[in-house]
Symmetry: C2
Subunit: 554 residues, 2 copies
């Protein structure tokens, strides 16, 4: 029941590297990296369906941006500031490609926006948690998603050439929202006065020059002749304010090379298997089996082969593939297997060395991957059986899940364990740790659980509130099977809405507002005939004829 | 493009009184009021289309509940606790009527939920701001909206008869969310652990007895033989903890008796006129012209005729009629006219006497009405011309608006003015005052504006950031006309989403989460074929055949 026949998007893969980039150029000059957009018109995911004109982007472009940010984090610890700009004269970025959006299915649109939002939030994370400051250098047209990209930077400089402006023309032109954080960041991050934000968000031509500064839309406008000097100078100033530890060299992020065989994807530490008939994915992460780094030197030496980094890069990749390529697989069974102690040893090493740039980046990466899991619109059940490795960092998977089932076996050893890493190293987008969110109603239980010495068996785990259900060996199989069967029979949409509400108990932040308030409204609009119907604004854009609106307000 | 042919709902009016109630019985016994639900099956808004069985409700039922709460606030200052229960044996409330929902248009569903949400939040407001504690006494079946009604109370007692349970069966049975605050209040108010909330929200049969207490879903379960005594005792305890000033008698809320003539509705202080061709409503509120109460005795004597109460009761009624009965009127021009000084005098009287129960209730009512305006999905432009009365309390209308246009006239006097009432007496649902939200980016401007002595002319108003635009007399007419024409040409859905984001800059609260996160997701689901399509779960409920789902998750 899509309003227009959506085009099938080919299987999406998320791995790339700078030498393969089609759309971005990443250069590093001392403490300053430059990320320059130069989108190749026929380099999109579906080059026959749309051309990426005027530095407009699709998912292919954003996958490169996300990769470039990873390279800056891990391969370039010397970078303390990033200039985000464009190589096309008088064009910064025209935003998400409208013909791509207009011809994509609802699910693709939603997941495209989710990924781009995660990438933008990753830029803010890079600034806040890695100390790499971001400066948007707008050399020309900057509209819609282009301005939203700029909004994700710490500061925005705009060339003052009499024509360059910033704009959010989505509402007046396309009948949709600036949904990549635009509305939220305008009022909540840049704190533009809400009536001016209202006027701005309906001005197709945008705002330029002095007024753009007065309205707080950009930080500075600079004459074209002085633009290059101004942005270079400002990038240097920002770099000098960075709190990033100054200690290269970086490590290299190699390819993950998963082996894909039908409905099975096998990485080194992560295994995903799909049961298509049941619409269930088993996602298993294995504890390390070999010695892991314990000192900063060993971490640098291990590079991308350290379990803590590799396993979570693999998990991240698996989640993204699942989201985009397997929309019908509605339930994910999370399993952690292997030697619990080896995970706890890794946690100790992460905690001990957390001030080192690389260890900090590894922790940051695990945190972002866990957030990606929180935001994945699939039901997540953790399955905790003998041989499990749900300890410390891996235990976060169990409390990221909607439910955790733990087998209470009379004979076999089945325990879980916490570590110092559960005490706030991986806050959710709400700003609270998963344990804090879990125990909103009894905050003393967080401390109680963390103070507990050693493993929890199923009985203790349930008594401490760490798992949802702990059936014994007689009930286990039936109870878990029935819970899964029941779950997979419910309306996928109701589950998405339910999980998006229950998972984010507690405070809201700009980040949760973007995924909750803004995205939920955008998804609603993405279903509305006024946007996506045969004569909806998004559908008819660029074609003959004007959109046709049902004028009823809701 | 509604998925099923929606039934036309007759024009809705919102005024009623206890002697006209069909569905509720309000009795007052000293400090305890009892609000007992006894829904008349054929007393709904469209009695030919659905029967309100098992104490299920529609908008007609909720309008009476909202009225009863108003009576408790104004007519019964002696009430310090309310028992919310049912007169039907073994049935508390089965929730919103499903056949009503299934046969309503999208817009009606959304506005029905908005009103019921406002009523539930009004119950919490009654507890927090009037000191009237609410106790839900669940004497039997309590499902969906029934449990959501209970969740809006301070405490929940459930009869322990072996069958009575609380349940949120929306997701498993209907493919929608418990959207009247249910999901939010379970985790954010009652702080049910999120994995247990997940299990609970998928259990059609709900949870009863001891487990309901353990999961924090109810506060107490009581054997049937002791139920009446237990709830009476608890209501008395709650009443004794109330901070409501103990000083009757109440005042009587008489009917508003607006005169309706075609597209014009005339109350005593509020005038609404609709320009159907332009899809614009002019909503004008007049300042008082007669002497207003200045002492508490005078307030009691004036009763419902005091301007501060009457004018905002009228405004509230006008907003509700507009929402439900005029969906195509997308833009509201807010005007305040008359003697500014008389509004400032009222503000002084409100401020001076704010500790008196009645004045407190008047201020509470104005606050709730302004919140209702914030939540109204229509574009709001304040129009400030000579003769305007945008001062103090009425100035809140100008900053509740998406934009305010103020005529900068060279000859005629056109000024606005603040009062102490703008300094936090009417917080938004975010918890901040409208001035604080306006100046998120420059908090010092709040104090600057409030410290300013006397009126602001158009130039000052703009310099202080209090209005959006101040065209002079040459540009005024064209600029305002063009702004309105432009606004009314945009996609109504995009505007709804845009305004819902920009108006609520700043922090989120449980209240804003209900209207932002929860409602936005519910509205999305209310558009999805899995819920409302021909074979959607909401559509087929109670008919032959099972729902058909598109399994794709988004």
């Amino acid at each position: 029941m899509e309003p227009t026949l959506p085009v099938q998007t080919p299987t999406v893969t998320f791995e790339t590297s700078p030498d393969q980039y089609k759309h971005w150029k990443l250069t590093v000059d001392g403490a300053i990296a430059t990320l320059a957009m130069d989108v190749k018109e026929d380099g999109g995911l579906r080059p026959n369906d749309y051309k990426l004109k005027l530095n407009s982007y699709d998912l292919a472009v954003d996958i490169e941006l996300a990769d470039a940010l990873q390279r800056i984090r891990f391969e370039h610890p010397e970078v303390h500031a990033v200039l985000v700009t464009s190589l096309k004269p008088r064009i910064f970025c025209a935003g998400a490609n409208i013909f791509m959006l207009g011809s994509s299915s609802h699910g693709f649109k939603v997941n495209f926006c989710k990924f781009t939002n995660e990438t933008r939030l990753g830029m803010e994370d890079l600034s806040a948690n890695s100390g790499v400051k971001m400066l948007a250098a707008l050399n020309g047209i900057c509209a819609g998603g282009g301005y939203e990209l700029a909004l994700a930077c710490d500061e925005i400089y705009l060339v003052d050439d009499g024509s360059a402006s910033v704009a959010l023309p989505e509402t007046p032109l396309l009948g949709v929202l600036p949904g990549t954080g635009g509305l939220t960041r305008v009022v909540d991050k840049r704190k533009v006065r809400r009536d001016l934000a209202d006027a701005f968000s309906t001005l197709t031509e945008g705002v330029r020059g002095k007024r753009a500064v007065e309205w707080r839309l950009v930080d500075k406008v600079v004459a074209p002749s002085q633009f290059k000097d101004a942005i270079t100078k400002r990038a240097q100033e920002l770099a000098s304010q960075s709190h990033r530890p100054d200690s290269g060299p970086g490590i290299t992020l190699g390819p993950l090379n998963p082996v894909i065989d039908g409905d099975r994807i096998q990485y080194q530490y992560v295994l995903g298997t799909i049961d298509r008939a049941r619409r269930v994915c088993d996602l298993t992460i294995s504890a390390p089996e070999t010695a892991q780094p314990t000192t900063t030197d060993e971490f640098v030496q291990a590079g991308d082969q350290a379990w803590a980094l590799r396993a979570f890069r693999e998990l991240d990749d698996a989640i993204l593939r699942l989201r985009l390529n397997e929309p019908e697989i509605g339930t994910v069974l999370l399993r952690a297997v292997g030697n619990k102690q080896s995970v706890l040893d890794v946690d100790r090493a992460l905690d001990t060395n957390r001030d080192h740039w690389l260890v900090r980046e590894i922790i940051n990466h695990i945190r972002r991957t866990l957030k990606r899991l929180d935001l994945t619109a699939r039901s997540l059940f953790a399955i905790i059986e003998p041989g499990n490795a749900f300890a410390g960092t891996l235990f976060e998977l169990a409390i990221a899940a909607d439910r955790a089932y733990m087998l209470d076996h009379p004979d076999e050893d089945n325990t879980i364990q916490l570590s110092v890493m559960n005490a706030g190293s991986y806050p959710m987008s709400t700003g609270l740790s998963r344990l804090e969110v879990r125990f909103l109603g009894e905050p003393e239980s967080v401390k109680k659980a963390l103070d507990h010495d050693g493993p929890f068996d199923a009985h203790d785990a349930q008594a401490f509130g760490l798992v949802s259900f702990a059936p014994d060996d007689i009930d286990w199989e039936d109870e878990v099977r029935m819970a899964i069967e029941e779950r997979t029979a419910f309306s996928p949409d109701a589950l998405t809405g339910m999980e998006a509400n229950l998972r984010f108990a507690g405070p809201e932040t700009m980040e949760t507002k973007i995924f909750g308030r803004l995205t939920a409204w955008q998804n609603w609009i993405f279903q509305r005939p006024n946007a996506v119907g045969e004569r909806g604004a998004l559908t008819v854009y660029g074609r003959e004829g004007r959109p046709h609106f049902d004028w009823k307000r809701t």
